[in-house]
């Protein structure tokens, strides 16, 4: 027992590695913010295009979504970071990771948003337009509130997955939380930094997971 505490919950080593861990935490927070924003924006645009059923874009978007679902995120990252430079597109590790995560997550977001958009009956749009609302007013006051209730649980789940995906930054030596924790672990020969990193991730993600539980519970009792 004492062994476990010394190795995983060693306060001394935690204090000694606090600089590394805090730096990693800030990098991770930056990664998360950019990735989530880019992915949801991208996904929303794709969903709107698919919902509008423009004949030209449909097959391209479907192909894109299927490809992204078939390729693991880390492979996508490898492609963007190691292969793309050969075509001249060179990115910093930060943007390579952000774009990899945003492309992968964006496809899932697109599917979720599209599900929400198509779940609202067409009659709603027709009635709203017939009552004199403009397209933007219809979307804002009639469509979106209804769509939001449906998509909120899978949306939160996907956001959690996205945040978890940013941890693969360690693979391209981007100094995020996990990478710094591994460095600290290597230099101190103690696993406390890793435990600290896990706990920090949990602090960010557990509230979201509980939110998912709450939202799913609400969805059930809504009949």
């Amino acid at each position: 027992m004492q062994d476990i505490i010394d190795n995983f919950f060693n306060f001394d080593i935690l204090i000694r590695s606090r600089v590394l861990l805090l730096g990693g935490l800030f990098m991770t927070l930056r990664l998360i913010s950019f990735s989530v924003l880019l992915a949801s924006g991208f996904g929303l645009v794709l969903a709107v295009f698919r919902h509008a059923r423009i004949r030209f874009f449909d097959p391209i978007i479907i192909l894109y979504i299927n490809l992204v679902r078939a390729i693991p995120g880390i492979v996508m990252l490898m492609l963007i970071f190691y292969v793309l430079p050969f075509t001249g597109i060179r990115m910093s590790p930060f943007w390579a990771l952000t774009s990899a995560v945003a492309f992968t997550g964006g496809a899932y977001y697109a599917e979720i948003f599209r599900g929400g958009l198509s779940a609202v009956p067409r009659g709603q749009t027709e009635a709203a337009r017939a009552s004199g609302l403009t397209f933007i007013q219809t979307t804002r006051y009639v469509i979106l509130p209804q769509a939001m209730r449906i998509i909120l649980p899978p949306l939160t789940t996907n956001t959690v997955e996205l945040i978890k995906a940013t941890s693969i930054a360690a693979v391209v030596a981007l100094p995020d939380l996990l990478w710094q924790a591994l460095q600290a672990q290597a230099t101190t020969m103690n696993s406390t930094p890793l435990t600290a990193a896990l706990i920090l991730y949990l602090i960010i993600l557990l509230p979201l997971v509980e939110l998912i539980r709450y939202l799913e519970g609400r969805m059930k009792t809504d009949y």
Binding site: A70, K164, L205, V209
Partner: protein, 228 residues
């Protein structure tokens, strides 16, 4: 253009790398199957125990423990858990091989998701079924096994297959702990030949592996997602 082909579609190098990639693919498939079997088995177990303990007078601690297990695993990044399992556990005497660490980590994560999905399905089944079965004299376990679970599993299949594909893709992460799966072999041969063609070949193999699974998921969702 010639440069592009020389770097990305170098069939010569792809050919040389192919045996390695193929063995990597096999390891990925093997690990995937282990993860799925382990995850489903533990997930079903936990779901049944969770539902069963709800009715017991002193069952709440078990419910609480299961909820902690599930929430922790749902909220933890796979790579962090993998690193803990592979690099940290040896410090307390538990040394796992890359394969064991991978199966344990991803199996546990899958079991958490599977438990949630199954529990939702089980609770979604009309209570009349359980009442009828119990009043006919079936025990709790018999009710579960012959009446509730078959229906619950059928309903869970769409979200379950979705989640399973997502977690199986995560096995590529195990390349970071030197498990000789497809991505690791690709990166190794890429280093050997100083050419990214093996990575392109590996991507195609991944697509070859996962696209059918995703189409099956889609088909299953269409067929069984519309309810009974």
């Amino acid at each position: 253009m010639h440069d592009f082909v020389k770097y990305f579609l170098n069939f010569d190098i792809m050919q040389k790398a192919f045996p390695y990639l193929l063995s990597g693919l096999w390891v990925t498939i093997k690990t995937g199957i282990s993860v799925v079997v382990f995850g489903f088995f533990v997930g079903v177990l936990l779901a049944v125990v969770n539902v069963g303990c709800h009715r017991l007078k002193y069952g709440s601690p078990i419910n609480f423990l299961i909820r902690i297990y599930v929430d922790l695993l749902r909220a933890s990044p796979y790579l962090v858990l993998l690193m803990l399992a592979y690099f940290a556990l040896p410090f307390v005497g538990i040394t796992l091989s890359a394969y064991q660490a991978t199966v344990l980590t991803f199996g546990a994560c899958l079991s958490a998701f599977a438990e949630e999905i199954l529990r939702g399905s089980i609770e979604g089944i009309d209570k009349g079924q359980t009442r009828a079965a119990r009043s006919l004299g079936l025990s709790f376990l018999q009710t579960m096994r012959y009446v509730v679970l078959p229906q619950a599993i059928r309903i869970s299949i769409p979200p379950l297959t979705n989640r399973t594909v997502a977690i199986t893709k995560g096995i590529a992460l195990a390349s970071a702990i030197s498990l000789s799966e497809l991505l690791k072999q690709a990166r190794w041969t890429q280093g050997q030949y100083a050419n990214p063609s093996p990575l392109i070949a590996a991507t195609l193999l991944f697509i070859l592996l996962f696209l059918p699974l995703i189409r099956i998921t889609f088909y299953v969702e269409k067929k069984w997602g519309k309810g009974l």
